[in-house]
C-alpha cells in the first residue's frame, strides 16, 4: 500500500476544514472495512481522514425517550454499555457475534452502517428498531430512517462533505422477545450467510401482539417482510404458525450465490430461522 496522508481531526470544525481542503480524501472510523479495500486496491484515495478522535460523535447519550449513539462509537464500547444492554438487548445480541473482540474494539456502528453490507450485523436489529440516522455537514444536519439511507450493497445516501454523525433509537417499552441469530460458517470472525433479527411483543399466553422481523445476507440490503409480520401478528407463537410462514419468506428474499453459500441454501435457511422463535413461547432459550 502506498503511503498517504492521514488526517486526525479532533473537532467537527476541524473535520469540515479538512474535508474542504482535501475533497478527494475518504473518511474512516475503525478502518476495519476500509483498510481491507485499500489493501486489495479496489479504492485508492489520495488521503484519509480518521474520525476516531472526534469525541463529539462518540459514545451513547440518553435523550429520555431516545438513545443517541455516536457514529464513531465502537462495537466493543456499545456492547459493554449498560444502556445498550438495558434498552436494546437485540442490538447487544448482534454485537456479541459481530467479528471478534479485536475487530469490535476498532470497528464502529457508523462504519457498519455506511459500509452497508447486507451482512452487517448491526443492521437487522437497527431496522427492526426503526433507527433514525443523523447526517451532518458543515451547513446542515439531516435525519432519515435507516432503511431509506441504505439503497444497495455499499450504497448510501451520503453527499460530498457529509458524514454520518449518529443513530437515534427509540427506547423499547413492550417488546419482550429480542432475538438475533447469525448463521456463519464458523463461530469467530464469520461473515453472516444469513441472519434474522426478531422483535416481538408476546402475550402471556404466547400470542404475538406485535412483530418486527429483518433478515440479513439474503438480499442486496436488509430484508423486511411486512406480510410475514402481519401474518404472525395475532397468532400463537407455535411451531405450526412459524412453519406456515416459511414459504412466504423463501419466496420473498432475493439472495445471491457466492463463495460462502448458494442462494438456495440462504433461501431455505432464511425461512427455517423463523422456527427458532418458538422457544420464546415458554420464556426463551
Amino acid at each position: 500500500m502506498p503511503l498517504r496522508d492521514v488526517f486526525l481531526p479532533r473537532t467537527l470544525d476541524d473535520l469540515w476544514d479538512t474535508l474542504e481542503q482535501r475533497p478527494e480524501s475518504m473518511v474512516y472510523a475503525g478502518g476495519t472495512d476500509l483498510f481491507v479495500r485499500l489493501r486489495s486496491g479496489s479504492i485508492a484515495p489520495p488521503s484519509l481522514v480518521c474520525l476516531e478522535r472526534l469525541n463529539e460523535i462518540k459514545g451513547v447519550r440518553d435523550e429520555g425517550e431516545f438513545l443517541f449513539i455516536g457514529a464513531a462509537t465502537t462495537h466493543g464500547f456499545l456492547l459493554a454499555h449498560p444502556l445498550t444492554v438495558e434498552h436494546f438487548p437485540i442490538l447487544a445480541k448482534a454485537l456479541a457475534v459481530l467479528a471478534s473482540p479485536p475487530v469490535r474494539h476498532m470497528g464502529t456502528i457508523g462504519g457498519n452502517i455506511v459500509n452497508a453490507s447486507p451482512a452487517g450485523d448491526t443492521l437487522p436489529p437497527l431496522y427492526v428498531l426503526d433507527a433514525e440516522i443523523e447526517i451532518s455537514s458543515r451547513r446542515e444536519v439531516r435525519r432519515m430512517p435507516l432503511a431509506d439511507f441504505i439503497f444497495g450493497p455499499g450504497e448510501v445516501l451520503l453527499g460530498k462533505g457529509e458524514i454520518l454523525t449518529g443513530v437515534r433509537v427509540k427506547k423499547l417499552t413492550n417488546e419482550n422477545v429480542h432475538h438475533y441469530e447469525k448463521v456463519g460458517l464458523r463461530k469467530g470472525q464469520a461473515c453472516a450467510v444469513a441472519s434474522l433479527a426478531a422483535l416481538l411483543r408476546l402475550s402471556p399466553s404466547g400470542v404475538v401482539e406485535e412483530a418486527r422481523l429483518a433478515w440479513g445476507s439474503v438480499g442486496p440490503t436488509v430484508v423486511t417482510l411486512t406480510e410475514v409480520e402481519h401474518a404472525l401478528t395475532g397468532e400463537v407463537l407455535s411451531h405450526d404458525t412459524l412453519k406456515g410462514l416459511i414459504p412466504l419468506v423463501r419466496d420473498n428474499v432475493s439472495p445471491i450465490d457466492d463463495v460462502r453459500a448458494s442462494a438456495e441454501y440462504r433461501r431455505i435457511v432464511a425461512g427455517q430461522l423463523l422456527l427458532r422463535l418458538q422457544q420464546y413461547r415458554w420464556g426463551g432459550p
Binding site: L185, R186, K187, C191, V259, I268, V269, Q272, L273
Partner: protein, 796 residues
C-alpha cells in the same frame, strides 16, 4: 564468513523472567525454550531480517494455468523507477529445476506455464512499492494451451500433457499392490460395502508466509536465511538449480513461523539466491504476500478415493480394495511420496488378509500438491475409517468393538504386508476409548439434545508412519559442545518449525548431562555450523535427532567425567557425577566447575558428535522398486483412537464439535506439554479440514484467495481437546519415544463424519462438512431421494 545481520544463538539465560532451575529430566513439563521470546515478539524469524541497503525481490507469476511462453518483455519493467534488475530463466546458470524425487519444477519458467502460480520473472527493486509497480510492468506473451484440471480426466488417452517429457504421461506415479488373493477375496466376504470419498485441498495457512533474506559476500559465499524445514536439502537444491558449488551456499534456518509441511522443500530459496547473485552484494529480501502464498504455495492433495471393504458376519475383516487419485498439480514436489504413504495407510490400522490397492499421483494444471502434516494419511484415514463405521452399522457391532476385533498388534502384518516389529499400542488406545464416558454414556448424552439439535458420537482409529522408508537414508548428526564458558551447547540439525523439538533437544541433552536450562545453549540449524540431519518432517525429528543426540551427549559426559576423575584423583569416572554447572566427586564432595573443566579440555574434546540412522524395514515385500524408493514400507508407527461428540443444527446444518478426545500411542512422553500441544494442534487442523477449510479451485484458478474466503478455525471454534497418552516404551526410540507430530491430524475427518452420520443418519462423501452440505444432505435424506451426497452403502 561474517554472520548475517543479527543472527545470534538463542541463549537460554535470556530466555524468560521466571527461571526454571531444576535439572532437566525426561517426562517433565519443562517450559518451551522458544515460548517467551515468541510471545514477547523478540524471536527473530526469517521474516524479520532486513539490514542496511536492502533490496526487495519479487516474482511475476503467470496467472494462467497452462500456456506456451512466447516471450517475456522486461523493457518497461527495467526502466521503472527503483528497479535494480529483472531476470528470467535465461539468467539461471544451473539446471533451473527443483524437486525432491523428480526435479521438474523450474525456478523461473522457461518453455511453458504449468499453473497459475508459476514464476516467470524475478525483479529486484529498491523498495516494496517500486517492486510492486515494476512487477505490474512485466509483459508476458503467453499462448494459452488446453489444461487438465481433473486427475481422472488427466489420465485419459488424449488428455493434454503437463510434462511432455514424462514417460508416464500425466501419471506422475502409479502404485499397485496386492496382499493375499486380492480382489478374488471379494467373493468370500459375507458382507461387502462400497464407498467413494472426495477430500478437498487444505492450505497450510501459517502465520509467516514464505520468506527469506540472502546475501553474497566478497568471497562469493551465498548465505540464505529462510523459513524452511529442510536446510540441508535446500543447500543442494539451490546449488544445483543455480549451478553453484554446494559448499558456497549456506542455509540458515531460524524457527519458521509455522510450516506444517508447506516449507518441506524450496519456496523462496532459489529465487532469493538468484537475486543475491545479481544485487551487487547487497542483501535481498523476499516475502510472499498471503494471496501469493495461496496461489504459489503447496497444499494438501485433494483426493478421490473408491473403497470396498468386506468382512465375515462376525466382523472379521477379510478384504479391502482402494483406488486412489491424488491431484499433485503441475509438479512432483512430494506428490509421489505422499501417494505412497497414502497407499501404505489405505487399509487403516487393521489386520486384513486380502488387500488390493491402486493409486495415482496425477499431474494437472491445478495448484501444487505437497507435504502437509499427515502426508497423504488424513485422506485415506478419512475414507477407511468411515468404511469401518459403515460396516459396524451394517453388522450391528459397536464401532469400537469392531476396531478392537481387527486392530493391528505387534507381530501382525500391516495392509501392505509389513510385519510390525515396533511398539504397537492401538489396542491400548481403543481400550481407553471404550471406557471413556464420551463413549460409554453416549446414548444418554445424545438423548439430551435441545430443540432443533441432533447429537452424534463418532470415533476413529489412526496410525502414522514415521521416517523416510527403506531407501532414502533417515539420518541425523548431533553435535554437543562444552563451551569455554562452561555451558552445554546443542547444535540442532533439524528445524523446529514450532513443534518444540529444539526444546526437546535441550531436555534430552540436559537430562543426560544433569544440567538446568540455565546451563544450556541452542544453535538452530545452519548448514555451516550444525551437522547434516535430514528434514523436519515425517514425525521423525525427535526420534532421529534425539537418538543422535543421546550418543553425542553421552560421549561428552564420559569425557568430562573421565577428565575430572583424573584431576580429582578419583579411582574412576563412576565415582563422579555431573550436577548443574559442576562435576562432583561423590566420595569426597570435591567439585570442579564446568567452566574450569572447559579450560582444562582441548577444543577437540569439548565437542562431541554422533551419527544415527533410523532402522528400516527388513521385510522382503513384493513392492515395486518405485514404491520402495518413494518410501514403502515403513517400520515405525504411532497409533491413536479419537472420539468426538457433535451437535448438528437442523435449521442451518451447522456442525458444532462439542467434545474431542484423542488417545495416542507415541511412545514415552518426554515433555507432556509439548506432546499435548502436538495433539491439540493436529486435532485443530483436522477439525478445520473436516468442517470448513474449503480451498476452491476452478480451471486452475484459486477461488478462495484470502482468509476472508478460505476459513480456518478461530479460537471459539475449537473446544477443549482432551489428550491421553498411552505410554508404551518403543525400544528403538530415544528414551522410548515415537513421533507425535502428525498422527492427530488424521482423526478428526473420520471421527466427525462418523459422529455427523450418527446424528443425522446421513453419510457424506464430500468434504468439508459445511453447513450447506449438511443441511442439503439432511433434506435430501428426509425426502427419501437418492443422491450422490449420501447413501453410499450398497450391498452385494
Amino acid at each position: 564468513m561474517r554472520h548475517p545481520a543479527g543472527h545470534k544463538d538463542s541463549r537460554t539465560s535470556k530466555r524468560s523472567p521466571d527461571r526454571y532451575d531444576r535439572p532437566l529430566s525426561i517426562g517433565t513439563r519443562v517450559p518451551r525454550i522458544d515460548a517467551y521470546a515468541k510471545v514477547t515478539g523478540r524471536e527473530k524469524f526469517a521474516a524479520d531480517y532486513y539490514g542496511d541497503d536492502l533490496v526487495w525481490a519479487g516474482v511475476k507469476r503467470a496467472g494462467v494455468p497452462h500456456a506456451r511462453i512466447e516471450g517475456i518483455d522486461l523493457k518497461r519493467c527495467r526502466e521503472a523507477p527503483g528497479v535494480i534488475c529483472a531476470l528470467t530463466h535465461e539468467h539461471v546458470a544451473g539446471t533451473n529445476r527443483q524437486g525432491v524425487i523428480r526435479k521438474d519444477q523450474p525456478v523461473l519458467a522457461d518453455d511453458k506455464v504449468r499453473h497459475c502460480g508459476d514464476a516467470i520473472a524475478l525483479v529486484l527493486a529498491e523498495d516494496k512499492e517500486s517492486l510492486e509497480r515494476a512487477l505490474s510492468m512485466v509483459s508476458m506473451d503467453l499462448e494459452p494451451m488446453p489444461g487438465v484440471f481433473d486427475p481422472e480426466e488427466a489420465l485419459e488417452e488424449n488428455a493434454p500433457l503437463v510434462h511432455e517429457d514424462h514417460p508416464g504421461g500425466n501419471a506422475l506415479l502409479k502404485g499397485e499392490l496386492q496382499k493375499g488373493i486380492g480382489q478374488a477375496a471379494a467373493a468370500e466376504c459375507e458382507v461387502l460395502l462400497e464407498g467413494c470419498f472426495e477430500t478437498s485441498y487444505q492450505e497450510h495457512a501459517y502465520l509467516e508466509t514464505e520468506c527469506g533474506w540472502a546475501q553474497q559476500d566478497e568471497e562469493g559465499k551465498l548465505a540464505i536465511v529462510c523459513s524452511t524445514q529442510t536446510p540441508f536439502r535446500d543447500r543442494m537444491e539451490v546449488a544445483e538449480a543455480l549451478g553453484l558449488d554446494p559448499v558456497s551456499v549456506r542455509i540458515i534456518a531460524p524457527y519458521p513461523g509455522g510450516a506444517f509441511g508447506g516449507k518441506d522443500g524450496v519456496t523462496v530459496q532459489t529465487l532469493l539466491g538468484l537475486a543475491a547473485l545479481h544485487s551487487g552484494g547487497r542483501p535481498v529480501k523476499m516475502w510472499w504476500g498471503r494471496e501469493e502464498s495461496f496461489v504459489a504455495g503447496t497444499k494438501r492433495h485433494p483426493a478421490s478415493m473408491r473403497y470396498r471393504l468386506g468382512a465375515k458376519w462376525d466382523g472379521a475383516l477379510h478384504f479391502l480394495e482402494a483406488k486412489l487419485f491424488f491431484d499433485t498439480g503441475p509438479y512432483d514436489h512430494l506428490g509421489g511420496v505422499v501417494l505412497t504413504l497414502a497407499l501404505e495407510h489405505a487399509s487403516g490400522p487393521y489386520r486384513i488378509p486380502n488387500v488390493k490397492l491402486e493409486g495415482y499421483a496425477v499431474y494437472t494444471n491445478n495448484p501444487v500438491g505437497g507435504a502437509f502434516r499427515g502426508f497423504g494419511v488424513p485422506q485415506v484415514t478419512g475414507a477407511v475409517e468411515q468404511m469401518m463405521d459403515m460396516l459396524a452399522h451394517r453388522l450391528s457391532i459397536d464401532p469400537v468393538e469392531l476396531r478392537m476385533k481387527n486392530a493391528l498388534r505387534r507381530g501382525d502384518r500391516s495392509g501392505v504386508g509389513k510385519t510390525l516389529v515396533s511398539s504397537t499400542g492401538l489396542m491400548e488406545c481403543l481400550d481407553v476409548v471404550s471406557k471413556h464416558p464420551f463413549w460409554t454414556d453416549r446414548d444418554e448424552w445424545k438423548s439430551a439434545a435441545g430443540p432443533f439439535k441432533r447429537r452424534g458420537v463418532g470415533m476413529s482409529a489412526v496410525m502414522q508412519a514415521s521416517g523416510y522408508g527403506p531407501v532414502v537414508p533417515d539420518y541425523a548428526n548431533a553435535k554437543v559442545e562444552l563451551t569455554q564458558e562452561g555451558k552445554i551447547r546443542v547444535y540442532c540439525g533439524v528445524v523446529d518449525m514450532g513443534q518444540g523439538n529444539a526444546s526437546t533437544n535441550l531436555q534430552i541433552a540436559g537430562s543426560i548431562l544433569a544440567q538446568t536450562l540455565e546451563e544450556m545453549e541452542l544453535v538452530l540449524p545452519d548448514t555451516d555450523r550444525t551437522l547434516p540431519s535430514g528434514s523436519a518432517s515425517a514425525s521423525r525429528c525427535s526420534y532421529t535427532f534425539g537418538n543422535a543426540l543421546i550418543g553425542a551427549a553421552e560421549t561428552l559426559k564420559r569425557r568430562i567425567l573421565q577428565r575430572a576423575a583424573d584431576l580429582l584423583m578419583a579411582q574412576s569416572a563412576d565415582q563422579l557425577a555431573l550436577v548443574p554447572g559442576r562435576v562432583r566427586c561423590l566420595g569426597t564432595g570435591r567439585e570442579l566447575s564446568l567452566e574450569r573443566m572447559a579450560r582444562l579440555m582441548d577444543e577437540t574434546e569439548r565437542v562431541a558428535v554422533h551419527h544415527f540412522r533410523a532402522p528400516v524395514a527388513l521385510d522382503k515385500l513384493a513392492v515395486a522398486d518405485d514404491l520402495r524408493l518413494h518410501g514403502m514400507p515403513h517400520t515405525l508407527f504411532s497409533y491413536g483412537a479419537h472420539v468426538t461428540r457433535v451437535e448438528v443444527d437442523e435449521l442451518t446444518g451447522y456442525v458444532e464439535v462439542k467434545d474431542y478426545l484423542a488417545v495416542s500411542d507415541c511412545g514415552t512422553v518426554i515433555n507432556p506439554q509439548i506432546y499435548e500441544q502436538q495433539i491439540h494442534g493436529g486435532v485443530a487442523q483436522g477439525l478445520g479440514y473436516v468442517l470448513m477449510e474449503d480451498f476452491r479451485v476452478t480451471e486452475g484458478a484459486v477461488g478462495t484467495p484470502n482468509f476472508a474466503t478460505y476459513l480456518i478455525p478461530t479460537a471459539p471454534d475449537i473446544q477443549d481437546i482432551e489428550s491421553i497418552a498411552v505410554e508404551i516404551h518403543e525400544h528403538t526410540g530415544p528414551f522410548g519415544l515415537k513421533g507425535v507430530g502428525e498422527i492427530a491430524t488424521n482423526g478428526p475427518l473420520p471421527a466427525v463424519s462418523n459422529a455427523v452420520a450418527d446424528a443425522c443418519g446421513v453419510r457424506f462423501d464430500r468434504f468439508p462438512l459445511t453447513p450447506e452440505r449438511v443441511l442439503m444432505g439432511m433434506r435430501t435424506a428426509e425426502h427419501g431421494k437418492e443422491s450422490r451426497e449420501y447413501q453410499l452403502q450398497t450391498e452385494r
